[in-house]
């Protein structure tokens, strides 16, 4: 149970700035996800915490004490590497036992722990395999995971631990991680490029891009109150709809308008930064758009451009004058190209972004 604090962490590789001032606090025993696209700096951040990369500036504290002076091999963290990093010259058993042997555990203890974790990850039958490079991708991943989970470190760092598994196994592993975390009650930092995975597993998610943490929040806040356009578009599928227009102060409140539609915004008192007549971007999640609901102030006629039937739901692409929107509706609905539908855009579910900075305007 260790509390991790990261303060102003910077790291460059030559001209490339991988981390540009990361601040992050992970409560003791929490499971936090690092969510970001490839090249965002997730791996570098984890490696800095593990101690295998040395940051250029900033500090890393475990339980309030700086660990920068502690080399990796004494830091007592366990890390899963995205590349698996299995030791090619060792058997599967020896790979998993390696961290325990380096800690001078007794033979029996090692054997018990290795078999235990192998059982849990369903790779017990692979323990005798001599050459890990002959394993399948999914097997390698589980062996690497076993090597990470076999001991009881202060912190677990997991770098995309299930990204290469097939969909079914991935789903199982997600549940497995939640259970594991409940059992171990350990601090876990979990990097992933998949927001669904992050949301499914973590209590708090840090969205990272270009070496900066854009937002560190609960899943629901990331979804409903993203701090900027990147967070809004990176999270959610299908991607959030964004249209550009002008906001005006009306008698009843704010109104957003493009050349082809006007949306009345329900002013819940937080549009304090808005200037009358300024250009903004309005974002609305496809799932918030209501198809063929009761008429209200924000009801529009739209034409169907395309429909993807996904079983439990249908994604409909609509055209509304010069804007194109995606909406999601429940069930298998058959729409044809050119059908006219009535949609409601809920004025209390939209998010406004500053055009130039991309910051949300609350």
């Amino acid at each position: 149970m260790t509390r991790v604090e990261i303060r102003g962490l910077k790291k460059s590789f030559g001209p490339v700035q991988a981390l540009r001032g990361i601040n992050l606090e992970v409560e003791s025993g929490a499971l936090v996800a690092l969510l970001g696209p490839t090249g965002a700096g997730k791996t570098t951040l984890l490696k800095c915490i593990a101690g295998v990369e040395e940051p250029d500036a900033g500090d890393i504290l475990f339980d309030g004490q700086s660990v920068l002076g502690t080399p990796a091999w004494r830091r007592d963290v366990a890390m899963f590497f995205q590349t698996y990093a299995l030791y090619p010259h060792m058997s599967v058993y020896d790979n998993i036992a390696y961290p325990l042997r380096e800690r001078k555990w007794s033979r029996q203890e090692i054997d018990r722990s290795v078999k235990n974790v192998a059982e849990k990850l369903r790779i017990a039958h692979l323990l005798d395999r001599k050459d890990p490079s002959t394993l399948s991708g999914g097997e390698m991943q589980r062996v690497a995971l076993a090597r990470t989970l076999v001991r009881n470190p202060r912190i677990f760092l997991l770098d995309e631990p299930i990204s290469n598994l097939d969909a079914k196994l991935r789903e199982e592993m997600r549940t497995e991680f939640k259970r594991l975390h409940k059992e171990l009650k350990q601090t876990i930092i979990y990097a992933t490029p998949d927001f669904l995975e992050a949301f499914a597993i973590a209590e708090k998610v840090a969205v990272i891009k270009d070496g900066v943490i854009l937002q560190y929040d609960t899943p629901i806040n990331l979804l409903r109150r993203p701090k900027n356009r990147f967070v809004a578009t990176f999270i959610g599928s299908p991607t959030i709809n964004i249209m550009r227009g002008v906001v005006r102060r009306m008698a009843y409140g704010w109104e957003f308008s493009t050349s082809s539609l006007r949306i009345q915004l329900s002013d819940v008192g937080h549009y304090s930064k808005l200037l009358d007549g300024s250009e903004v971007e309005l974002a609305v999640r496809p799932r918030d758009i209501v198809l063929e609901g009761p008429k209200n102030r924000n009801t529009f006629k739209a034409k169907v451009v395309a429909a993807e039937r996904l079983g439990y739901e249908t994604i409909v692409t609509l055209s509304l004058g010069d804007v194109e929107l995606k909406a999601v509706t429940k069930g298998m609905r058959s729409y044809k190209y050119g059908d006219e539908v009535i949609i409601n855009i809920p004025g209390d579910r939209v998010i406004l972004f500053d055009v130039s900075s991309g910051e949300a305007m609350y």
Partner: protein, 301 residues
């Protein structure tokens, strides 16, 4: 019509295959013939070796190989122009070559592997400058350093000693060992070593428990090339050795073309001398290009 075209294509393919095999045979004969002729001559008697026109069919004799190591001292002395210690045959030269090769390679490998690992992993300040400098010693003509080293060795008492020659060969092969091994270490994924660090191994352990086992094949290839390099070296051996430390190439080069020398015996000595190369060419084939370019060109499939 289609049949005709197929026929024509088939015929063209046969012609192409024939051409390929024909050219290959000619090429192989051209490059292998001198070596074949060398080995063949070593199996000829003195008279057979001198026959004109050259003898293509004869009854092979191993006499020459026996003579190398038996007490044919005066003849060896006459052939090689070397005075020999007491009653020895040519084995003394092989012994010298072996001692010098083995010792210098052992040292060069250890020092070179350590430096290569450091350059590859830690890239300490000045790495690229140092690496370039080390590479540039490959371009350095031996004769340029030969002059000062000759006088150093004379004044330091290293002349005509094993240790002097070993030191020199260690130095001349160090650049190769460093570059070659660096190219192999560069191929070991960093993540593997970082995983070991996180798993609790300190850098020293990571080096010998994780990194080194990954490059064993490369290490073997590197040592193979080092053997060839040292075994084949001539100029410094010529300048810095005398009776006690003469190596095989100096002895062979001493065979001046006096009339009546026993070419069969010389060929036998040479055959023994190039034997390591003939064995190693098969083992090193995969790494040949890499070895000859200091690891900068990774080679042919």
């Amino acid at each position: 019509m289609a049949n005709l075209r197929n026929n024509r294509r088939g015929r063209r393919k046969i012609v192409k295959t024939t051409l390929i095999y024909l050219s290959t045979i000619i090429a192989v004969i051209f490059f292998i013939f001198p070596i074949y002729w060398l080995v063949a001559t070593s199996l000829k008697t003195r008279a057979q070796a001198f026959s004109t026109p050259p003898l293509f069919v004869w009854e092979p004799t191993f006499r020459n190989f026996i003579d190398i190591f038996l007490k044919r001292q005066t003849e060896i002395e006459a052939i090689t122009g070397q005075e020999l210690e007491l009653a020895t045959g040519a084995e003394i030269f092989f012994y010298n070559s072996f001692v010098v090769t083995f010792s210098s390679i052992a040292i060069a490998t250890v020092i070179g592997v350590l430096a290569a690992y450091s350059f590859s992993r830690y890239k300490p300040a000045g790495t690229s400058t140092l690496m370039f400098f080390i590479l540039s010693t490959r371009m350095l003509p031996a004769i340029v350093v030969a002059i000062p080293i000759y006088f150093f060795y004379r004044s330091l008492g290293l002349y005509n000693t094993y240790i002097g020659l070993i030191l020199l060969y260690t130095m001349f092969n160090l650049p190769f060992a460093v570059w070659m091994m660096k190219s192999f270490f560069d191929e070991v994924p960093r993540d593997i070593e970082q995983a070991a660090l996180v798993d609790g191994s300190n850098p020293v352990k990571v080096f010998y428990k994780i990194a080194l086992p990954q490059v064993l094949v490369g290490l073997g290839a590197t040592i193979g090339f080092l053997i060839i390099n040292v075994w084949n070296e001539f100029l410094f051996a010529l300048l810095l050795t005398e009776r006690a430390t003469r190596t095989v190439p100096v002895m062979i080069a001493g065979t001046r073309g006096e009339v009546g020398i026993n070419w069969g015996l010389i060929a036998a000595i040479e055959t023994l001398y190039i034997l390591p190369a003939l064995v190693l060419i098969f083992l090193l084939q995969r790494f040949l290009l890499r070895g000859m370019t200091f690891g900068t060109v990774r080679g042919v499939k």
